[in-house]
Symmetry: C2
Subunit: 233 residues, 2 copies
């Protein structure tokens, strides 16, 4: 029944958000030299800057770094030192250069799915960084296609379905984000296997899909994905 299965990458195949959260924690420590952190709601201010800038920067570590710098300048009333701003640039570089760490059982699960269906990788964010991670992951050979997109919304998935020449009803997407991986695919008539990751970026937590949708399965780990797909038919 399913012709094609898509896998998300960040926080589905390998760790990502923990590296961003580590950078955010270090960002707070750096700002702690200038501010009373108890009053400043640094995290909310950074999130507000990121939300505003996403229209100009898109997703990814470079835009996040520029948003950290803007937030730091604003929150410190332009008192932050050049040396500390240099450290913020370093936080971005650390994320970009961090070795890929696969989640447990990833290769086995994708390989098992690939025996029954064509599989594609669909990931969003910074093209250069995503390509580097795909290369490093050693998983590229399992996928029929690698698609790096700037946004995972219904128009993007609709375009991909056209390029793949498939009906949404014969496509399932596997990923950790209800907002980016599951909701848009289900809205178009496809299936979703939600594999929650312990931490999720605030902007990825916003979605409008009702709980218990008949075309959505929720599983605890990638190892359970092949069975969940078989249950769809």
């Amino acid at each position: 029944m399913l012709d094609l299965v898509g896998f998300d990458a960040d926080d589905t195949l390998w760790h990502s958000e923990i590296h961003f959260q580590a950078a955010h924690a270090e960002f707070e420590r750096i700002l702690g030299a200038y501010l009373d952190l108890a009053d400043a709601s640094v995290h909310d201010r950074l999130l507000a800057t990121e939300r505003r800038n996403i229209k100009v920067f898109g997703y990814g570590a470079k835009g996040m770094t520029l948003s950290m710098i803007e937030t730091a300048v604003e929150l410190t009333g332009e008192r932050i030192s050049a040396a500390d701003i240099h450290r913020l640039v370093g936080l971005g570089k650390e994320i970009l250069a961090h070795p890929v760490e696969l989640l447990p059982g990833v290769r086995e699960a994708v390989a098992e799915v690939a025996q029954r269906h064509r599989v594609v990788l669909i990931t969003k964010g910074d093209l250069f960084h995503q390509e580097a991670k795909v290369r490093q992951s050693g998983l590229a050979d399992l996928f029929h296609r690698i698609e790096i997109v700037s946004e995972k919304d219904p128009p993007t998935y609709a375009r991909l379905f056209e390029e793949f020449s498939i009906d949404a009803a014969r496509f399932a997407m596997v990923g950790n984000s209800m907002r980016s991986d599951i909701e848009p695919v289900v809205r178009l008539g496809g299936f979703g296997v939600h594999v929650p990751y312990p931490v999720t970026w605030a902007l990825e937590r916003e979605h409008g899909l009702e709980a218990g949708h008949s075309r959505v399965a929720v599983v605890e780990a990638l190892a359970a994905v092949p069975a969940a797909l078989r249950a769809f038919g």
Copy 2:
């Protein structure tokens, strides 16, 4: 004889490098408050930082902005103010938000080529920014495919030829960069139409193709591209 014609985008279909150069000039003016510009070779230092960082950042305005910040911190001995660093972030945002300005005769030239051949757009750099420019350009409908890649080297073109199911010998690339548009395609056995742009980023000027290659035409403007392609066969 040609099955497919690729067009580069930045500085081939629309202006790009002049916006980066304007940002660089403003960068020098900002640093002029801290340095004797006559001694500092700001431009060379920025280029050295960009060259070093391209392995981590890839191409595009966000990476350029982070490289400007790093260079400014280093060249001023950490004396640059937070307010001035904020201005550098603003320079990057200006490039990203700048309206697309098509070069003269672009739509007519691409449309004429599209009457004889399938045409694709092949552009490198920041996915999010390139997509925004393609959308704004109003040219997307002319192209069979839009390919945004992180590097334009022989392996990238070889992968695209495979995806397009064509021989290199039946492909011609049109662009302003000998290094990214012409040399790798010609090395693989394809054709190139070089349309020089008045200014070229230093890192794009490096190439190893001999002058007067039989599969390369050089034309002064996009309007001359259809005739150059016909001359190839």
